[in-house]
Symmetry: C4
Subunit: 231 residues, 4 copies
């Protein structure tokens, strides 16, 4: 079942490796069929070069396995929380891509230093707080999702991803492909922000009116970028 979605989720997972966002098994992508309430996700610890659509695991929103002989990614509970709360997203991605993760390790949000970031993020790429010892001990992966939701509230549409302190990146979108693309945007903006800060430690974010211009050029009802397709 869900053959088309499986194909999209497999492609999103493989694109992470191709774009240099994931090495070894350090990442995962999922997609959701909102009508059926079923998630397709990468299996845990399976090398990307051997993965096929049949290896993907189908689960419901309570995490029950509905199809597949492998165990799902250990990060599944994080994906589930994001799907439950952000009801308009259809894909979630997790990476440890290296520039973005370096910001997460340095405990710094990625300020919006230029229009490249403004095209996708309305302002900074937020840094989510560290989990407490209790949150880690009790239900680590689920609580990771909850702290993201706690921080972002309803801003998840103009902030399609974030950095989790000391950990890595979560991103999302209206398809697995778009979630993976946002993971690439985050890494690329992180690299540029890193270099910007080394060249000018006092660098300032772009003015709000420039960020708005670029964001709205690509998003919303007056978008003039692209061929008129739904973003």
């Amino acid at each position: 079942m869900l053959e088309q979605l499986k194909k999209e989720v497999l492609e999103a997972n493989l694109s992470l490796v191709k774009n240099g966002l994931v090495i070894l098994t350090w990442g995962n992508a999922s997609g959701i069929d909102r009508e059926k309430g079923l998630i397709v996700i990468k299996p845990s610890g399976v090398p990307y070069e051997k993965m096929t659509a049949d290896d993907l695991v189908v689960v419901d929103l309570e995490g029950n396995i509905k199809e597949g002989s492998l165990k799902p990614s250990v990060d599944l509970p994080t994906h589930i929380e994001l799907y439950k709360r952000f009801k308009d997203i259809k894909g979630v991605v997790h990476t440890h891509s290296d520039y973005a993760t370096s910001f997460a390790q340095a405990k710094r949000a990625i300020e919006c230093y230029g229009t490249t970031q403004a095209d996708t993020f309305y302002g900074d790429i937020p840094l989510i707080r560290e989990l407490t010892q209790e949150e880690i001990a009790a239900d680590y992966e689920k609580n990771t999702g909850l702290v993201i939701i706690e921080s972002l509230g309803e801003r998840h549409l103009d902030k399609p991803g974030c950095l989790v302190s000391g950990h890595g990146v979560f991103s999302w979108g209206d398809s697995p492909r778009k979630a993976a693309e946002n993971a690439l945007v985050i890494e690329s903006c992180a690299k540029m922000a890193f270099q910007t800060l080394l060249l000018n430690p006092e660098a300032k974010p772009v003015p709000a009116y420039l960020a708005k211009e670029h964001y709205e050029r690509k998003h919303g009802s007056n978008a003039r970028y692209g061929q008129g397709e739904k973003e």
Copy 2:
């Protein structure tokens, strides 16, 4: 129409991806047929891996579409202004290549620290001022072209490109291929300048006589580099 120019513009666009200057759809290249007064440019938001010569859009110098079923790049008005004022150029390129964009975000010109840059740029790679809120609100892409022209005046031949503050790179040349090559020169020199400044924050530009020697070795009537072809 313009089959040969379309081929050159397609190749210039694809070279940006191949050389690592562009990811996703973050860049565009165009070329102009000066006799006919027609520009061939990348369509907006179309993935590079799927683009063919037939997807390219033909427009006149007022931006009217003369051929093609897709919308042209949103940056077309910038290209048009550059073609109108810099009458000897035949190709324009825009990228968000990461080292160069980092200088644009840090609000620093790229000083000429070595002969690598002097071979193409007579002195620094200039930083163009930020647009005002009014310039952004009124006609953003056209005004981007105008501030480049305002800053460069007639120096566009020995400065075949620039950084736009908080944004990215524009470059040009006497063909789409040469404009794309200059975008690569800018990124490569930006990377070296970045590293130079981290190794020596007090690094000084090369003396004018060395810059002149290298620039003239490659350009002008006494050039001794290459096989005598027109640059």
Copy 3:
């Protein structure tokens, strides 16, 4: 003899090049057959692109050549000491991968700034002290192994690799493949730690309870990562 082990050792050596950890002949991987007490190791100074399983050298734990017409890697005595003392490892790798080697040259251990490192290393990637002039003069490669053992004691299971001051990386694992994978983990964590420290020179390691959570998620009897295979 040892055809299967030779295949694994060849693949581990080639993976070092493929993953960008080794250029020229700057690295080596070996594996051991614990029952027979025989080591298979890369020959010295042979280019990777020409290497075949037949070029690998079989030696015993005293370094006597048992099969092969080529000389073994000059680092063989280091491998032998590690195999003798760390009795549960079955693969050893040596690289000069550039971020990790930069930490070794800067005389800094790689602190555990995030969960990426915590998944493999329980805490820091240790820096092994410089050898003394006497240790270098007498039996350099053997003494390199001895100082690693002196520093790590019995911690080699939750520290599957280290940096040797002014030199490079040694890593190990329960197979040649796993030793090579750990060399990649070290380089990747080194790159992120480098970037973290440039973004925040006061960056702190993750709390012990987060490191423990991630380490135990992947290792030990309660591991929930992967498909239940032996690590």
Copy 4:
């Protein structure tokens, strides 16, 4: 004539591109037949992807073209001076590889921070002084060779390359292949030295006895590295 040497010179030139040391036409490699006193060198400004052995130019030690329809590299006079004075070398390479060139632009020699560099360079990779205005005006490329010779004296065997201030890299060896390999060693050591200095601005070179151990392990009559081939 000189078919075998042309093949080696072509391969050395192409290896520069493959190893990421050269983009566009920013580099050149040559080789010499000492018996005939003839040099084979890359033509000026010809793209690497189109170059064939037939495009290479044969010149004598006075720079007279003996075969070939193209103009030789503008850097030929530098190569000639090096061949004339360093009588045991048989290959010369010039690059603008980016980390090494950054040191040249920052006016810093590359100190020997680790054994990776010590395996090829006995101590630092030297920085050659800037040419004076007179030296640049009179005979720029020839004088570039002369200042290298002035600085290195007879140390060119244990220093098989250098950085020219504000310019780039020259390297050499007993074959075109070895000269190109030394250019790769210089770039790789430059990258590690760059990172080392950012991690520890007070980093110190390795002790002389460790540098000596590594250098002599690979070079000289007691070398124990490799398969006994002549270096």
